[in-house]
Each structure stands twice: as C-alpha cells, then as structure tokens.
C-alpha cells in the first residue's frame, strides 16, 4: 500500500522501503493491518471485519436541517459512510453509493453519510442539487470520526441492527458490484454476527464525544 502510494508523482525514493517497513511495524503494533488504505486507496476497497474499538452513539446536525441520532437507525443493518469534499475518490464513490442506497431501499442496509471536518456550504456545493437516497450529516469538528477511529477517507462502517460494528472498508468501494449486494443479502439483522454483538451502544452527547474513545463507556447500555 505504502509503496504503491509513494510511487505517485514527486515522491521520496531513497527511504521508501525503510519507511514502508517502519509503517508496517507500526501498523502491526496498532492492530490496523487490515486498514492500511487512505484517501487515494485502491479502486475498490474490501469490507473487512471490524477489529477496532466501540463506535459510540452520536447526535449530529443533518445537512437538510435538524439533528439526527445514531440510535434512530436501530433495528436494521446500517452503513455509515465517512467522506470529505477534498477527497478525490469520494467524488466518484458517492454517486455509486447513492445508486446502491436507492436500489436497496427495501432490502437494506440503511445508509447515512457523514461529512468530516466540513462546513455546510462546502458539502452542499460538493453534493450538488439533486436529492440523495441517504441522509447526510455534518461532523464539523471531527468528533465522531475521532471517536470511531476513522483515520482515512472515505471509510465505510457497517453496523448491525443493534448498532454494533460489523465491517469496515477503508477506501472507496464499488457499490455497483453485485458482490456487494450479495454480501448485504447475508447481513440480515438476525445474522450470527449481529446476534453475537448484541447489546446497545451508549448514547453520547456531542460534548462527551469530544473525549478520547478510551474514556468512554464501551457498548453496554
């Protein structure tokens, strides 16, 4: 991953292999080996099993007005998509995600997109005038992205019906790929993965989300 990224444009050359080795070591140490993609990630990232920590509940302003609670999505598999307007892959991925959400409106998952570290006018301009098949929320101060340990954009997290994290894709996903549909056909709210997670994530206000995830209270009610 690193070597591929470093080959682009005017990149360092001499220390490339050393740095790649260092990064691999660090990634191992931080247990993020499955998530070594970034904003310039592979054309289609893979939905890997989630191995990071809890994904605390949140309340965020919606682009269309009002506030949206994560808890309002309880009861069905939910796809939470983090993006930014400066992220080049996001520009091509969001229309595909919109098509995915529209064609799966009946079967699920439900989809919500979160703009990270962005002001409202920038997001409006980025998305254009057309209606979307999903709700767009504003994580203006990056508090949710931080709490969820989102370190690269785009990143998509799949939550079970109890809002527990199941899978993650770091990088852009080919939402038009039938394989993605087959995957979500298997992720019903009563899937073994969903049942094994169970429980209910804590509800955290925005001010509590400003604290480091480690200080939060896990996934128990």
């Amino acid at each position: 991953m690193f070597a591929r990224k470093l080959r682009r444009g005017n990149r360092p050359s001499g220390a490339r292999r050393v740095f790649a080795r260092l990064c691999r070591l660090l990634h191992t140490a931080f247990a993020v080996t499955a998530f070594s993609a970034a904003a310039n990630a592979a054309p289609s990232a893979i939905l890997e099993p989630w191995t990071s920590g809890p994904t605390p509940a949140f309340i965020l302003d919606a682009l269309d007005g009002g506030e949206t609670r994560l808890s309002s999505y309880r009861g069905a598999v939910l796809l939470v998509h983090f993006f930014a307007t400066w992220c080049a892959p996001c520009r091509t991925e969001l229309p595909a995600l919109d098509r995915f959400a529209a064609r799966r409106a009946q079967k699920g998952p439900r989809v919500v997109a979160i703009a990270v570290g962005e002001v409202e006018p920038a997001v409006r301009r980025f998305l254009g005038a057309g209606p979307l098949a999903f709700c767009v929320l504003l994580d203006r101060d990056r508090a949710v992205a931080k709490a969820w340990d989102i370190y690269a954009l785009p990143t998509t997290v799949v939550l079970d019906a109890a809002l527990g994290p199941l899978r993650v894709a770091v990088g852009d996903v080919e939402w038009d790929d039938p394989a993605i549909d087959r995957l979500f056909d298997q992720l019903s709210p009563t899937s073994p993965a969903a049942r094994s997670i169970g429980g209910r994530p804590p509800h955290l206000s925005r001010s509590r989300l400003l604290q480091p995830p480690a200080a939060q209270s896990g996934r128990t009610p």
């Binding site: 360092p12 790649a20 070594s36 904003a39 310039n40 370190y151």
Partner: protein, 365 residues
C-alpha cells in the same frame, strides 16, 4: 512601493540566473541573513456574497511578535459593518479583526490594512547561546492539539526516528531529515492541508502541503520532548534568492498562505524549520520536479533548518482556535479569513460565497 519594484526586478534577474549552468546559479545561493528590515502593508478585503441574515467575519492579523524577525505594527480598517474590533484567541493570543454586520446589510465588506516589519532569520547552530523558555510556554508547545496528538503512532514514529540521538539538536535534525525524505508535497491538497498528522501516519499517505508537512514536524518534535510550534502566515514578496516557489508571485497574495515551524532548543532558543518548503522546491521549482540531489534542493535543505527568508510574515502560532462569539466548532488553525452568515460558517476556500483578496505592498518607513 519603490523597493518592491526593485525587488521584482531583482527576482526576475535571479530567476534568469537560475536557468543558467550550475556554477552561475551558485552565486545566488539560498542564504538568509538577519540584515535589514522590510515593512509591508497587507491589505485584506473580504466581501460576503448573497448574505442573508446577520453576518460576521474574522480576519487574521499579523499578531505574532518576535523582536528579532517579525514586528506587527498598526492596523486600520474600513467597513460598512455595525461593529468591528480586534480580538485575540485567549489560549495563544492569535489576533483577528472581528466584524459584525446587521441583518439587512446586503453587501457586507471590510478592508483591513496591517503593517508588519520582517527580516530574515538565521540561527548559528555552531554557537550555543543562553536561551530560556518559561514553564508555561514549554508546556503549551509540548502538549497535544486536536490535530497533533503526541502519543500513539506519533510517539512511536518519533521514537523510531530519533533513536538514541544524544542531543536535542540531533533529534530536531533527524526529524527534519525524516520529514523531507518521507513526505511529499501533493498539489491536489486543498488549501494548505488540514494538518491531521495521526491520519497521515496511520494511512501511510504522507502527501500534503505546509499545514500537513510542517505540522507533522511539530508533532514528531513534541513527541520527542522538544517544544515546537506551527507558525501560520503569508508570503508577501518574491524570494530574493530566485526561488519562484518560495515567494509571492505578485502583489496579490490571496493564495500565498504558508505555515512554517519552529523548534525550541535550549542552547539556541526558537529555531526556524521549514521542511515543507524543501518539498515545495522539489515539486514546483522546475517543470517535472527536482530530485533531492539537485543543487537547488540541497541549498534550501541545508538552510531551512536554522534559517528562513523574511519574505513571509507571521499571523499566529495558534491551534484549535475558538472564533469569538461563534457557535461553530473550533478551527484547527487561523490562516484564512473566516465568515459566518446567520449560524452557518462559510467555506473559507470558496470564492463564490466568500470573496476575499489579499494584497501585499512593500513600504518605506
């Protein structure tokens, strides 16, 4: 004004020299020296387009005072606003003009002129001297910010880089070298970058611009126990050394924001550091870029640890800035004008909704 015309001519001459063979270029070596002050009037004009509701602008001012290289002077403004006053960020003292327009003002506008004197910096790293940093300042410039954590992967990376280096100077140099060798300037980065250094390290994508690359230097230095800070500012004149990538291209400097870094070494005080500008030279100084072995790159790399050119003025060294009386979230740093209409913060990089121009004029004082 008169000096500026001469300066532009000198810049053009040096640029021409740079295109000649290597021995000739060497005569214009990059060598900032703290000789002679230059004064600039920086004129920032902000207009809010299609303003509906009460609106407010926050215009950064050169408020960073360093007696030996950056001296802010008078500020004056004209506006059709109901109220305008200078305010400071309580944590770092970042100065800004806060301008409030009443609802019904359909064409809010403010023009601010800030005078600042500046000169080159060059610390002789062969001659230790007495320096002192208060415990409060030491703590401030060692602690983590929202975008610059000093633990986790930042600390691990820093430890790997500095290894068993004995002195603070060695540590600071090792980090500088590592930044230059492992990061790259990404022309696609919006503005000057966001400065989210943990994301850079975790993703392995070390591309960015000054607010990314120099923030990474600051974070790695802090994690190594060296007080360090980003200094946010603006290029106000061409480089007298002929580097087109290291100076303003004209009097219009609307997009010439640049963030530099400083590291505090107990034997030398605050030391200027700018690895991001080394990567900028590599990307922009010549078509197709320049390799690290190019004499132009080597020249700036040698100097930009310990020196920089006084064709840039400093606004502030603030992080996580809460804009006065704003309900919006903190901003990572204050380098661009900011504005809000109603409760909505505008995109400071969007020229359609939020028009601003910045002009720099050298003045004789």
């Amino acid at each position: 004004m008169i000096d500026r015309r001469k300066l532009l001519a000198a810049g053009a001459a040096l640029s021409a020299t740079a295109a000649t063979p290597r021995f000739a270029w060497a005569q214009a070596a990059f060598a900032p020296r703290p000789e002679g002050w230059r004064s600039f009037d920086v004129v920032t004009r902000v207009e809010l387009l299609n303003a509906a509701g009460p609106s407010r602008a926050f215009v950064p001012l050169p408020g960073f005072t360093a007696e030996d290289w950056n001296r802010p002077a008078k500020v004056k403004w004209t506006t059709n606003a109901a109220k305008a006053a200078i305010a400071s960020d309580p944590a770092y003292g970042a100065r800004m003009l806060v301008v409030d327009w009443k609802e019904g003002e359909t064409a809010p506008v403010v023009e601010v002129t800030s005078r600042v004197a500046v000169r080159d910096r060059a610390v002789d790293l062969a001659k230790p001297r007495a320096a002192r940093l208060s415990s409060a300042e030491r703590a401030r410039y060692l602690h983590a910010t929202d975008l610059i954590p000093t633990d986790g992967i930042v600390k691990a990376t820093s430890d790997q880089i500095v290894g068993g280096a004995a002195s603070d100077l060695d540590k600071a140099r090792l980090i500088y070298a590592w930044i230059i060798e492992n990061t790259f300037r990404d022309a696609k980065t919006r503005g000057c970058g966001s400065g989210d250094i943990a994301a850079m390290l975790r993703s392995g994508n070390l591309g960015g611009k000054c607010a990314d690359i120099n923030a990474l230097y600051v974070g790695l230095a802090r994690a190594a126990g060296l007080p360090a800070r980003d200094v946010y500012g603006l290029r106000v004149a061409p480089s007298k050394f002929g580097y087109k990538s290291l100076g303003a291209k004209s009097e219009i400097v609307t997009k010439a924001q640049h963030c530099r870094a400083e590291v505090y070494l107990s034997d030398f005080g605050w030391v200027p550091v700018d690895p991001a500008d080394v990567r900028k030279v590599m990307l922009e100084e010549a078509d197709g870029g320049l390799p690290a072995s190019d004499p132009k790159v080597i020249a700036v790399r040698e100097k930009l640890f310990g020196a920089w050119e006084g064709n840039w003025i400093a606004y502030n060294a603030a992080h996580d800035v809460a804009l006065p009386r704003s309900a919006g979230s903190k901003i990572g740093f204050l380098m661009y004008p900011q504005a809000e209409v109603g409760a909505v913060r505008l995109d400071c990089l969007d020229p359609d909704a939020f028009r601003y121009t910045i002009k720099s004029v050298e003045v004789a004082v």
